[in-house]
Symmetry: C2
Subunit: 130 residues, 2 copies
DNA sequence: CCGTATCCAGTATGATACTG
DNA sequence: CAGTATCATACTGGATACGG
């Protein structure tokens, strides 16, 4: 391939640490991450309101997800030290910049997910007849 | 809270099964999936050539990843029953349609990943001084 | 209100050896 | 060449209880 005298010499040219696909996915592909980002799309929101909006998320997982996003620079955390405290979260400009490619994914789902479901049903059908 | 006179009544409106972000990510966010798709971007490719191109992937994980993609209708598998057999993989039209949003993610990485790394370094720095 | 700490179960991945 | 089978391990996520 990359040597004119060989027909099938192939060197590894794809790796986890280099592929741009993998690097973003590493950031956004934890179970709750996409949902938490989605909850912040409209602007500043309190911890407990995120928790109320997302069905089934525990405090532990919400906190953990927010901390990772904060560490990656995608989310900002603002504390008002009243009693009880008010903690508000929002996307940083870097976080906002991620919305565009994520919306592209979302649109793909709207248009095409029905075909994925059909493919799965068909594949599983064939599987059972064997 | 859950009464009509409260100012901050919030019902869950985000869930794993409905959010479009989460549904695509479920398809493409396994460890090797993005890399395998990446290896097929240029067209038909043999099993062993994918394996040679992707650094560190085992036969087990490659097969498992390809089977999932096939089940989801994103990849087609073509067998030539010679001895030894030739098995070729390629993206289906549905699989090809995913390339566009994935490339958007890739471009985001090219432009912005450096900021993620800086944010992480800064966050971890602060962490240690505590 | 906004978390942390602990422990535990389920899943994802990996190493290795074998096969048509 | 293109897989499968088996076993081991690591990581993720959930339940529960407690704290400033």
């Amino acid at each position: 391939m990359n040597n004119p005298f060989s027909t099938n010499a192939v060197e590894p040219d794809i790796s986890l640490s280099i592929c741009g696909y993998s690097k973003v996915l590493d950031i956004i592909s934890n179970k709750w991450t996409a949902l938490v980002i989605y909850a912040m799309e409209d602007g500043i929101i309190r911890y407990s309101d995120i928790r109320r909006r997302i069905e089934g998320i525990s405090k532990k997982m919400l906190t953990q997800t927010l901390r990772q996003l904060e560490r990656d620079g995608l989310v900002q955390r603002e504390i008002t030290p009243s009693v009880p405290p008010i903690v508000e979260y929002s996307l940083t400009p870097l976080g906002v910049s991620l919305l565009e490619p994520m919306r592209a994914l979302n649109q793909w789902t709207s248009k095409n997910y029905v075909w994925v479901e059909k493919a799965r049903a068909s594949y599983d059908q064939v599987d059972q007849t064997e």
